[in-house]
């Protein structure tokens, strides 16, 4: 797609320039992590050589669209688990674990 290619070219340019000025990269990374902290994304890490298991933990307030994102057609979700247990529409920070 032309727009995607254009965006990716621009992204590469910004990232490459970051070698000279890290502060620009810090601004972008901080914006990303701010979204994550609101529950839009989850981060996990693995040790070297360990394959990412097919389970994710969500920290934050999960929005309805967020959960929908995990509906891979090939890999149906088997388990959805909320902490604290029983909270369906959490209004505070929580933890969700998906088994896929």
């Amino acid at each position: 797609m032309p727009d995607e290619k254009k965006f990716e070219d621009a992204l590469m340019k910004v990232l490459s320039m970051g070698k000279m000025d890290k502060s620009k990269l810090s601004v972008v990374s901080s914006a990303i992590v701010a979204l994550k902290k609101q529950g839009f994304e989850i981060d996990q890490v693995n040790i070297k050589g360990r394959v990412q298991p097919d389970r994710v933990i969500v920290n934050g307030i999960p929005f309805p669209d967020f959960i929908r994102k995990f509906q891979f057609p090939e890999v149906p979700i088997r388990v959805v688990r909320l902490f604290p247990h029983g909270i369906i529409n959490p209004e505070w920070k929580t933890q969700v674990e998906f088994g896929i």
């Binding site: 995607e4 990716e8 992204l11 590469m12 990232l15 490459s16 970051g18 070698k19 890290k22 990269l25 810090s26 972008v28 990374s29 901080s30 990303i32 992590v33 701010a34 994550k36 902290k37 994304e41 981060d43 996990q44 890490v45 693995n46 040790i47 070297k48 050589g49 360990r50 394959v51 990412q52 298991p53 097919d54 389970r55 933990i57 920290n59 934050g60 994102k69 995990f70 509906q71 891979f72 090939e74 890999v75 388990v79 688990r81 902490f83 604290p84 247990h85 933890q95 674990e97 088994g99």
Partner: protein, 348 residues
Amino acid sequence: MTQTCSATEKDDQEIVPFRTIQVHPSRKCNLACLHCYSGSGPGEKKMLDIDALKKFLEYAYTQGFNNLSVSGGEPFLYDHLKELFVFSKQLGYRNNMVSNGMLLPSQRNRDILEYVDLIAISIDGKKDLHDHIRGQKGAFEKMMKGVAVLQSMQKNFGFIHTITPESWDALLWLGAFAFDHGAKLLQLHPLEMYGRATETLTGMVVDDTLAHQAYIMANYLQVKYDGRMAIQLDLLHRDYLEAFPQVVDTFSRQCAKKGRLPDLLDTIIVEETGRILPIAYGFDASFTIGNVHAFNNDLFEKFIADKIPAIKILFAATMERILLNKRADIVNWSEILIAESRKHNHYA
């Protein structure tokens, strides 16, 4: 059903989080990659005794471990790989492995795939860089023949890439490459200065600038391939770690209160010598859990009593060190934790 970690007793009947045993059954490999953290290569012959390993897996399963991740060396060079996977599958483990993919076309290895739930193929970048880091011309082409086998067998597979200063600007290409070849996972792990890399790749340290570049690019790829291919980056932003320490700090999770080893540690390691280590390959030997060749059924209990208090302090000290270091925004938690573990005198 295994019961390991959950918020309520009621949940125990339904939920089984993954708790991993990463096994290095041998350091024998058909390659000698420049970045290999275990220093594996063709000259390594030692292989883990299969009977001792099976006995340990049986014990560990009863304790709550349920996810087997085989690394190496090249796992397909382990003589007993099929026996291992058949056994672990029968016990109830989920079987994962990392491979360079070059040996997949043989009938023996195709047969083994039947018992593998997820296989990740290592890729170091485009053809020339891959061959350079693998130390073998033609390694990329041979790897691709292995990928073709996975495609033909419709196996769930992913790619694992080691991020270096020479490869980060090919991450867009790598995302498209992995997706176009049918991968379900692209895992991005930063180069760690451990093993052979300390001798061969000293100029390729992943500094904070490169970590930012990889972090931003990986997050873009997550959006781009959303719902179609998982992008896993093994780096964390310091602010995220501060907000959600339980992502790495198992002791701050609710399940830690249960106090069994799989409730306290996500991963344990079995080396080719049989030594069992907590958390990650390269963790300081003073924290050794035991050895698969000689253990009793109170192995984990004794380890918890003897060494978990020191590991708790180690985790807290590592977290504090990361949060206080404002020069590094993006961090490789396990690399820092391992380095901290080697200052074991502080924690013992």
